[in-house]
């Protein structure tokens, strides 16, 4: 269990302010956020590797805020793996074992288990310079887990890997978490990873926590415009909301009933449906607009459609784009279901 209470870390030009979060025992928790949000700093604060200005860190109910990094029982795996270049794979994995002779009941058995699960047997004698990205990451995981840490901190463990290695490591992480039951706190900027691995997530922006909740909740019900944008709701628009009606710069939309505090609407691009004909005219949330920009993303294109001066972003497959003869300046009809509109 990790409990962070009002953690503040100040660096010249950046402040991590009043971060509080709780990761339950055995949970897989992610911290999401863009580059520079302070995600790694949280991990390094828990591991005792950066000076903390104020706040408390507890692991399994014990205050570790004042302890040296080596006394915290916190394992950390960095994005660049940070393997010891002067040691072979086996020595890398066994590096910390000698400091945990008393606490480890069966270090050899644990070593064998990790080597087996992470498929490292054939690599044990190799120098770490000659390993692929995926292999390096597996060694780094084995090294951190070999000393049986109370919690495991993962700093973007997948983002530096090739796509095929990424899936492999993702599977391994899920399996290891299930088998060892270790508490994991992972930092990532990729929502798909969070979805696949974690139960709960915190979204960090500019050194502050914007939202904490189940991954599903954060994805479906973002609580701030930033989080909405971060989870892929590319249409985040300021709105005046009254009952089940929203006014976005003069455009009237039917929306779910709000709680009276909402200031924005947020819609995923894939929830804005394109109709070639004006067949739904008169229905709620049916608009006509002009294509103002097409951004080719390969298999699909992002479409910006201008409706009475307000730009909505939607998405169209490459096939549909060609079949419909969609080009800049073309007139289109858009339909948005009220239940697909999220109020913030």
């Amino acid at each position: 269990m990790i409990c962070i209470d009002q953690l503040t870390v100040r660096f010249p030009g950046f402040t991590l302010s009043d971060v509080s979060l709780r990761v339950e025992k055995g949970e897989f928790f992610t911290i999401l956020g863009p580059t520079g949000a302070g995600k790694t700093l949280i991990l390094e604060s828990i591991a005792g590797l950066v000076p903390v200005s104020s706040g408390r860190v507890e692991v399994n109910g014990r205050d570790i805020s004042r302890l040296a990094p080596e006394d915290r029982g916190v394992g950390i795996v960095y994005q660049d793996q940070a393997l010891f270049p002067h040691l072979a794979v086996r020595e890398n994995i066994r590096y910390g074992v000698r400091y945990h002779r008393q606490s480890l009941s069966d270090p050899e058995g644990r070593f064998d288990f990790l080597v087996d699960r992470l498929r490292l047997k054939h690599l044990l004698k190799r120098k770490v310079d000659n390993l692929s990205g995926g292999e390096r990451q597996r060694v780094a995981l084995a090294r951190a887990l070999a000393v049986d840490p109370k919690v495991l901190l993962l700093d973007e463990p997948l983002s530096a890997l090739d796509p095929n290695f990424r899936e492999d490591i993702r599977e391994i992480l899920k399996q290891l978490h299930a088998e060892t039951g270790i508490t994991v706190l992972m930092v990532t900027h990729d929502f798909t990873e969070a979805h696949f691995l974690a139960q709960r997530a915190a979204v960090l922006n500019g050194g502050r926590v914007e939202q904490i909740g189940s991954v599903r909740d954060v994805f479906l019900r973002p609580s701030t415009p930033f989080v909405a944008h971060f989870v892929g709701m590319k249409n985040v628009l300021p709105a005046r909301i009254n009952g089940g009606r929203a006014d976005v710069e003069g455009i009237k939309l039917s929306v779910p009933a709000g709680n009276g505090h909402t200031r924005h609407i947020a819609i995923r691009p894939e929830n804005i449906h394109i109709c070639p004909e004006p067949s739904g005219t008169g229905e709620p949330n049916f608009f006509s607009g002009t294509v103002s920009r097409i951004i080719n993303q390969g298999f699909y294109s992002d479409l910006e459609v201008d409706i009475s001066g307000v730009t909505f972003r939607t998405v169209l497959t490459a096939g549909a784009l060609m079949a419909g003869g969609v080009r800049k300046g073309k007139r289109l009809y858009l339909k948005i279901l009220p239940e697909d509109i999220h109020l913030i």
Partner: protein, 275 residues
């Protein structure tokens, strides 16, 4: 067509220009290399083998070369002991006034050598409390081996600290972080991670420190003319007997130094290969 001609001739002209520049650079490089090597080669080849052999049987020469080597070696070892933690601190920590501290380290490189000697004597003499204290506990600086080592450490230390610091900076801090999180204390982390990755720089730093120390003259003649280190002996032979008698001493000193430095370099390279 004017523009067409331009398009054709311009690249050819610029290539020719580049060639000319390369030739100029090569020529000036040759001058620099010759400037360094010519006098040295001449000096090495001028003394006859007989005079070289004769010099070798001169006990004063042997004693002075040996004194030069071991006092410089002592300076390198002292720099290693005191300079390593300092270099590590400079490589790893940011603090206000760091630039100032770094320029203090460089001071012995900047100031004129006789000034170094005078400065050290001014605190080691009877007129200073530290000098009086040192004399009370039996440490003599003026005209002693202790004084020599003191002076040579003073002039050689910056070379060790700067080279070792560069070595520590080249070790990613994350490796140390991981080591700490795996249970190793800061000291054990230094021994098991930082040292194995930076020791080559430390050896090179010691070589540079010793090389600087062995060539010191200006500060040495002020603090300890006797016992005579090789550069002082050479100077004395030169002023008393002329060029011919100082050359063989110089050649022997150069040969011994080259041999020692080569040995250390070879040692560090071979260890790297087997590591």
């Amino acid at each position: 067509m004017g523009s067409g001609e331009l398009a054709v001739t311009k690249p050819a002209e610029s290539f020719a220009g580049a060639d000319r520049f390369i030739w100029l650079a090569l020529a000036s490089s040759a001058v620099v290399v010759a400037f360094i090597l010519f006098p040295l080669i001449e000096m090495i080849t001028q003394p006859s083998l007989d005079s070289m052999r004769e010099t070798l049987s001169d006990r004063d020469v042997i004693r002075s070369i040996w004194l030069s080597i071991y006092t410089s070696g002592a300076a390198a070892v002292i720099s290693l002991v005191f300079g390593t933690p300092f270099a590590y601190l400079l490589a790893r920590r940011n603090f206000s006034g760091k630039r100032f501290v770094e320029s203090i380290v460089d001071l012995p490189i900047m100031i004129p050598h006789p000034v170094v000697g005078i400065a050290l004597l001014s605190i080691a003499g009877k007129n200073h409390w530290l000098g009086r204290f040192m004399q009370q506990i039996g440490i003599q600086v003026m005209g002693t081996v202790t004084g020599l080592v003191l002076v040579l450490t003073f002039v050689g230390l910056p070379f060790y600290v700067n080279t070792a610091k560069a070595g520590f900076e080249a070790v990613p801090e994350r490796l140390e972080h991981v080591s700490r999180s795996l249970g190793a204390s800061a000291f054990r982390t230094f021994l098991r991670v930082t040292l194995p990755l930076a020791w080559r720089n430390m050896v090179v730093g010691m070589i540079m420190c010793a090389a600087r120390a062995i060539s010191e003259f200006g500060a040495v003649v002020i603090v300890a003319y006797h016992p005579m280190v090789a550069p002082v002996l050479m100077y004395e032979r030169f002023t008393a007997y002329g060029l011919k008698y100082s050359q063989p001493v110089a050649v022997w000193l150069i040969l011994v130094c080259l041999f020692l430095f080569l040995l250390l370099r070879l040692f560090s390279v071979s260890v790297r290969k087997t590591a």
